[in-house]
Amino acid sequence: MWLTRPLQERSTQLFLGILFFALIVVTVLHLALPEGNPLHVSAYTVTLLGKYLCYALLAVAVDLVWGYLGILSLGHGAFFALGGYAMGMYLMRQIGDRGTYGDPILPDFMVFLNWQELPWYWYGFDMAWFAFAMVLLAPGALALVFGWLAFRSRVTGVYLSIITQALTFALMLAFFRNEMGFGGNNGLTDFRDILGFNLRTDATRLGLFIATGIALAIGYVVCRGIVTSKLGRVSVACRDAEARTRFLGYRVERVQLFVFVVSAMLAGVAGALYVPQVGIINPSEFSPIFSIEIVVWVALGGRATLYGAVIGAILVNYAKTVFTGVMPDAWLFALGALFVLVTVFLPQGIAGLLRKRRKSTDDGSGPSESSSTSEATA
């Protein structure tokens, strides 16, 4: 079974091992140790780590399409944000009559722009199951339509990258419009509770953090499952020699579509977990800059390795947290330099370095091993 196959892999086991170990350590240090103990992990840090994990999942999603399918999507932020908005709308409805205007149905921003009733597309978001379904379906549907159009007419490479950018840019403009009924520039905020748990308690935060960790684990396994399946090899084939793959009888556009949609859904999940932890979703998540930044996390970590994406995402964002605290104006220089150096001198990213070291130590390389090396070299 394709989903269980990864679990027998050494690399996947290692990854999951590290991930769960980290989750447990953080949880213990947070709960067991009292405030003020130097090793105590504060709620602040927990949320911060939770955020990093969301980004990691997002990066994995991007690596799936870029690393294995050769589609450089500069619009994945859009799927992330859509997932986030789906969750945001649910949280918004959960506020109920506790909003500043005490309107049981309408969110505050609708009240003071005196909307009379709820727009139709807000229906159903008061039900958790519906909202969570939307977290997957909204980005999935967008990816399906967009991808179907694009891949069917064989829009590839640079063109695809640029229209994905156009897509997210258009969405950003759209969501900025207050008429859209998504709160415009202010977005959705002031959330109260999720599934009945108060969002402003540390317990809930820890819960969200753990949930994110698990989501990342699942997402990783799903992606790994795809790339180690025959379909994964077909995607690599599409990436390297699209025409050839066609002549072998594979419907390249459908392969691309499938992987693209899966990736979009993962991004959506990441967004959905991101929103309750940072407490706001607003159109700036759609900004093309953000989408490009994601790609750089992946590039830094190392394309076509999945775990590289995770490393990249966490590293860059940790650096960001530190820098913006220490020397704000230096941050953009650092980020910019990172872009340049990685792409020019480190085309295989950190994962590439790791692998070099590993290869020099052991040479017993199974099929998956050697294939993954060569994928990255391609």
């Binding site: 490479g157 950018q165 792409t343 020019v344």
Partner: protein
């Protein structure tokens, strides 16, 4: 704000004095008193004070009124002396005595009390000054003054105006005066034949008058006014269509300018230069720098900054090519990432080195204002220059690509690198040249944009995406495509805007491009043949 009859007489007198003829006029007030009166005037009596000055016949009267209009008249707190502020920048202001005009050097802002003026007063002032100008020798000045009088005529000066109409030698000025008079008659006296006069006019003020007439009870007037308005609307519709077209063209040419450089680096070299926007920004900052170097002559600075902007951007381009892009041959997507990094660095560089704040770029006289076709249709000059400039740049590029050695080599290298190499073309050199050219053109775009929008660190970002859209829509590697695409998108956008609103219009255009790319993945003018199939 009515200027009583007797004023007109004095205005005549004042005219003579300013015209230099000796006048026998009574000095009922000393200049000091006049200024005192203005200084101490409460909003209600400022009017009287202005009149007093206007009619005093003092040779500085006009200077005072103008200074007053520009908020330049102040009173020294300690001495109560009235001064004219010559330079009001910074904490210490350079002042001159209002009476004698002698320069008193710098004075701290703390010690000066500005003599306040507001728009209401300023409008009166304009009326008075306009009346004065009506007697100027220069026709242009008189015309301007007459235009200025539209809607400013009132019982006070109506006779004067009527008188002028008789004496006015220049037909154009006369028509203006008649219009001005008619507006007054329509609004104040509700005369019917005045409506006739106005029925030809496209000036918004005339329409205003007619609209007010439409509101009146008297059916005859109502009908006449409506008819007049109808005929005006007819003309307006045409003009508006022309106007929208012009808007479209000008926006289009901006897009073309921004994109054309990209069309070269991206289209011809296959390099996705995300730092393109920042190269534009550099061009704009060069303009600013030039204006700092040549204070006082923005026009010259602007012209000089055309070559300068090209050079600066081109050099920056070369630096980028050498330091980053040459290592990424045949990896277009990687160039995208690397150059994006470069763009971040450039932005932050400008922020830290120059300033996070926008810079002031002055628009030279000959570029501000607009070319008046008629009262309803006037084409803004700066945009007209930009359109011309865009076309100029485009033709220049075309010539370079088609006629010069470089162009030939560039095309050779893009067609088949190896082959070109073997024929002794230095591919690397060509790369550098091409990239420099593309970047330089971006610089030119920056120079132009500095006349339309902010010169600030974010300038580039606002144009990069649009530029890519234009290039992709037009078909990569095809300059004509870029031109057509730019103008089309610009026009579509402007056509949509009135009913869709600015935001929606932009969104619609983006979606349109996305869908269009589905239909024609290689853009409007794709490159054909097996070479391109790849």
């Amino acid at each position: 704000m009515s200027i009583p009859r007797w004023l007109t007489f004095f205005l005549m007198v004042l005219l003579m004095t300013t015209a230099g003829t000796v006048s026998a006029q009574q000095q009922d007030q000393t200049p000091e008193a006049l200024l005192e009166q203005l200084a101490d005037a409460s909003p209600r009596d400022t009017e009287a004070a202005i009149k007093a000055i206007a009619t005093s016949g003092h040779e500085r009267a006009r200077a005072w009124l103008e200074a007053y209009g520009n908020n330049r008249i102040s009173q020294v707190e300690a001495t109560g002396r009235i001064v004219i502020v010559l330079n009001n920048r910074g904490r210490d202001w350079e002042v001159a005595d209002a009476l004698t005009g002698e320069n008193l050097g710098e004075m701290s802002r703390r010690d000066l009390d500005r003599i306040a003026i507001n728009n209401a007063v300023r409008r009166q002032l304009a009326g008075v000054l306009a009346m004065l100008d009506l007697f100027a020798k220069d026709v242009a000045v008189r015309e301007a003054a007459a235009l200025d009088l539209l809607g400013k005529v009132d019982d006070a000066i109506v006779e004067e105006v009527t008188a002028r109409i008789e004496e006015e030698p220049d037909a154009g000025v006369r028509n203006r005066l008649e219009e001005a008079l008619a507006i007054y008659q329509v609004e104040e006296q509700g005369s019917l034949d005045a409506i006739e006069v106005l029925s030809g006019s496209l000036h918004p003020r005339a329409r205003a008058a007619l609209n007010s007439a439409v509101a009146s009870e008297d059916p005859a007037r109502k009908a006449a006014a409506e008819q007049a308005l109808a005929s005006i609307q007819q003309k307006l519709r045409l003009n508006n269509a022309a106007e929208t077209l012009y808007f479209g063209l000008s926006l289009g040419s901006v897009l073309v300018l921004a994109a054309i450089g990209l069309a070269i680096t991206f289209g011809v070299m296959g390099v996705i230069n995300m730092a393109h926007g920042e190269l534009i920004m550099l061009g704009a900052y060069t303009t600013w720098g030039m204006q700092q170097l040549l204070p006082g002559q923005p026009g010259l600075a602007l012209i000089l900054s055309i070559p300068a902007g090209f050079l600066v951007a081109a050099l920056a381009g070369i630096a980028i090519e050498r330091s980053v892009i040459q290592f990424l041959k045949g990896r277009p997507l990687e160039t995208l990432l690397a150059t994006f990094g470069v763009s971040l660095i450039l932005q932050q560089l400008v922020r830290t080195v120059i300033s996070p704040l926008n810079r002031t770029v002055v628009t030279p006289e000959w570029m501000s204002g607009s070319l008046v076709i008629n009262d309803a249709l006037s084409l803004t000059l700066n945009r007209m220059y930009v359109i011309g400039f865009a076309l100029l740049v485009f033709t220049a590029l075309m010539l370079i690509m088609r006629r010069t050695r470089l162009g030939l080599e560039v095309r050779a290298v893009t067609q088949n690198r190896a082959m070109a190499r073997s024929m002794g073309i230095k591919a690397t050199r060509v790369d550098i040249m091409t990239f420099a050219l593309g970047s330089g053109v971006a610089g030119l775009a920056g120079v132009a944009l500095s006349q339309l929008t902010n010169v600030g660190p974010n300038l580039g970002q606002n144009y990069i995406i649009d530029s890519f859209m234009v290039v992709v829509f037009g078909g990569v590697g095809n300059l004509w495509g870029t031109l057509v695409a730019g103008l089309t998108l610009g026009t579509i956008n402007q056509l949509l805007e009135p009913w869709a609103g600015a935001v929606l219009a932009k969104i619609i255009v983006l979606v349109f491009i996305i869908l269009f790319i589905q239909k024609r993945p290689k853009g409007l003018f794709p490159q054909k043949g097996r070479a391109a199939e790849g």
